[in-house]
Amino acid sequence: MKEPIYTVSRDYRKEIADDKYYYARSCIRQNFFPGSEVTFLRVLKENLGRDIWDDPHHTTCTGIGYHSDVVPFNTIQTVIARQFSLMTENGYENFVASCVTSFGMYIEITETWKHHPEQLEQIREYLKKATDREFMIPKNIAHTSDIVYKFRMRIAEQMKYPLVNRRTGQPLKIVDHIGCHYAKMFPDKGEGGAEFTQVLQGMIKAWGGATVDYPERRHCCGFGFRQYLVQANRGYSVSNSKKKFESMQPYEPDAILTNCPGCAMFLDRWQFVISEMHGVRYGKDNTTIPVFTYEEMAGLVLGYDPWDLGLQMHQIDPRPFLDKIGIPYDNDRMYKTKTGKMIGEYTPQQTR
């Protein structure tokens, strides 16, 4: 399938490696969207035939601890140097992070090393002394969404369910949320920059949907690290999500597509909270708006079973979106183990 014509300047396009990736998992995605990481690897291997190394030895990058100010800068630099050492040891040069904040830190740190070579030498010493390891800086650093974006037309060629309303034949309206650390820190490292971010928009368009440029598109979801992690501060988090919901509401979106695992969780959960507390919902006719990760969206258009993607982990019911496209699903499988046993009690998701 032919790639669509770009509407953004070449200055805002980034280099994305096309094969042989070292994969670093995300703390939040593993906890709240485990099916998304499983799906990402499945799509890369089964649908795209790529080589990606899933290394059991890497750890958290400590990014949440760093942005909560309980992990020093030298420490996170050295932990990240260790991830690079594992990549080097396994014979890879292209590093792919599943987390937007990790991605931001990998860029922040490699840029720091470019501007302050003495800092790089210091980190090499720390790592050598602590672990006897050495490392190469990756040739290419990408976020996992960059890879899906790069191969969006290949995915489109294998697509079973385009993002089209089966009753009206119209493209579904999808609002995107990029996640601050993808491009706000280093705009030239995100596809489309911070201003004209293409990474999710490109997927939506390639898969038949329509995007909406709502006013608060670039606003933070409100995670804020300590502003969510400490219970007393969570008003910050929900207030920022609410600002986004109010901004997208007039466009009556069919779904929200997110880049960052934290944002996916917050835009899902805070809709539930606002609905419970105030009875306010932001979709058409006072319904909630389903939220998806880009891996889930890729899996849906490719015809993967919605419950294998992990859509039963969402508090906001995704089924109205599946119904609009005509994606079949078996309600009985939703709450069952692989062998068909019921997992605990049935728990309704939030539809209205």
Binding site: H57, T75, T131, A194, N233, W270, D308, Q315
Partner: protein, 228 residues
């Protein structure tokens, strides 16, 4: 460090010079800042105070709630016409507020005790910043009934998702090998992370005592819920 001017101490951090290139006070950072919209935080005022290099003002800043209101989204970085990064300066200020023991003078600063315990407990104990067991539904009502259901059935549920919860080998939420955890611990020891944790704990214990606590668990609960 005790004999140095506070403004000189701040400049020891490599991030200081990355964060400040002469702020002209245009206020664009404040206009896009999510924290400025919903709290008294103001990145323009923050950089203004730092630029004065006035030690008395800086000390007041390090002892205030103000520096703990930033959400680290870094929207300020994207928009600043001078390439300043107030959000990065926040990291510098928070670092020294903790190292010097000033953080316990503010309600928001005191929350570092809880964050340190939870996050570094997870990182050094499990190799992750967050593990499902640490997201307790009674402390996270916003996670909703879906999370309560998942939490009640963690092993079966994560197995259904294709995860490898707390088991050896590769995969989602796998058990991180002791050898790998040891390397992380040694990195923490080598790079000053343990000293930071010790400082947070030491100053928090002093503050708890001053406030009449004889139980640090209760202090944890109260700062986490915003009671003290």
């Amino acid at each position: 460090m005790n004999n140095m001017k506070l403004s000189e101490i701040l400049k020891q951090d490599i991030r200081y010079k990355e964060a400040l290139n002469a702020c002209m006070n245009c206020g664009i950072c404040t206009s896009v800042c999510p924290a400025a919209e919903f709290s008294d935080y103001d990145p323009r005022i923050l950089l203004n105070i730092v630029q004065t290099e006035d030690d008395a003002e800086l000390e007041k800043l390090l002892k205030s709630d103000f520096i703990w209101l930033c959400g680290q989204c870094m929207s300020c970085k994207t928009r600043c016409p001078r390439n300043n990064v107030p959000g990065l300066m926040i990291n510098v200020l928070r670092r020294y507020s903790q190292e010097l023991g000033y953080f316990t003078e503010s309600k928001r600063g005191r929350q570092q005790y809880a964050l340190n315990k939870v996050l570094n407990g997870n990182i050094l104990g499990e190799g992750y910043c967050i593990v499902p067991e640490s997201v307790k539904p009674d402390l996270h009502p916003e996670q909703g009934p879906v999370w309560e259901w998942i939490y009640r059935n963690l092993p079966e549920f994560y197995d259904r998702m294709g995860a490898n919860l707390h088991k050896p080998g590769a995969g989602v939420l796998r058990k991180i090998d002791d050898k790998d955890l040891d390397e992380i611990r040694r990195i923490f020891e080598e790079t000053g992370a343990m000293e930071l944790q010790d400082a947070i704990n030491k100053f928090s214990e002093q503050k708890a005592e001053d406030l009449g606590y004889d139980d640090m668990n209760q202090y944890f609960v109260d700062i986490f819920k915003g009671n003290v």
